[in-house]
Symmetry: C2
Subunit: 148 residues, 2 copies
């Protein structure tokens, strides 16, 4: 005859206030919406912008390192590439030296889209600086990097 297992409301409030995972997820959703809204005119989401920007390199990278850079699962990257390929913004080709590898590159159209998105990113990102006091931005980035 045990009572039902109950967590006190005070514990709930403590978890809500302190849980870093929750705070990061919340911020992630809020920032995603902010950048998604801003980038919508050029047809990109925040994730697609970050992905395409990471492909703007002298040498087309394979998938593994890109997934690591974005801290995402490799299967997520595979899926994320699909709509970009379909629109002709990203090319996925096989590496002749190692046929397991796919080389990811921006098409000319993709580069143009990315170039159109850049000023939007700049202004949106600048507006964030106003939400946070001065040097806090750099500090916040370091803290976040320590977590991923």
């Amino acid at each position: 005859m045990s009572n039902a297992v109950e967590i006190p409301y005070s514990t709930t409030l403590l978890v809500r206030d302190t849980c870093l995972c929750l705070h990061v997820q919340r911020a992630a959703r809020a920032l995603a919406r902010l950048f998604d809204d801003a980038l919508r005119p050029v047809g990109l989401t925040n994730g697609q912008f970050s992905l395409m920007m990471s492909l703007n390199r002298p040498e087309p990278p394979p998938m593994g390192p890109v997934a690591t850079l974005l801290a995402m699962d490799q299967t997520t990257l595979t899926a994320a590439l699909k709509p970009l390929q379909r629109r002709g913004w990203v090319d996925v080709t096989q590496n002749a030296k190692d046929k397991r590898r796919r080389l990811l590159s921006l098409t000319p159209t993709g580069k143009a889209v990315l170039a159109a998105a850049l000023p939007i990113w700049e202004s949106t990102h600048a507006s964030l600086g106003e939400a946070l006091p001065g040097g806090d931005l750099e500090r916040l980035r370091r803290d976040l990097q320590a977590l991923s």
Copy 2:
């Protein structure tokens, strides 16, 4: 006869290093995996844990405020509740006073699951403190809150 639109590689590196949206998404994915792994034995994801914890209140809340608290779209909350209802961990009932509203509450089983998850959350969250120096945690939370 214009050249193809190109963004210099140096700009790419700058965006990668400074984009707060990217850094937050990266940290969000990394923390999600960390908590998902830890909570897997009790059958919860980090998001489900946060959602259920937010429902542990004296009075069952309607959906709107919960969505706001979690900084998620209301349609996302509707979808997130589905698997929890199916497992019998969350009850969704109609408010008699205002039939538009749904009242969200944990079932006894749901409360037991949440209670089982709590020590896992505590130890996982404590391990985060080691990744970040002491007061940095509190500071980081404040910075994240300013963004959402």
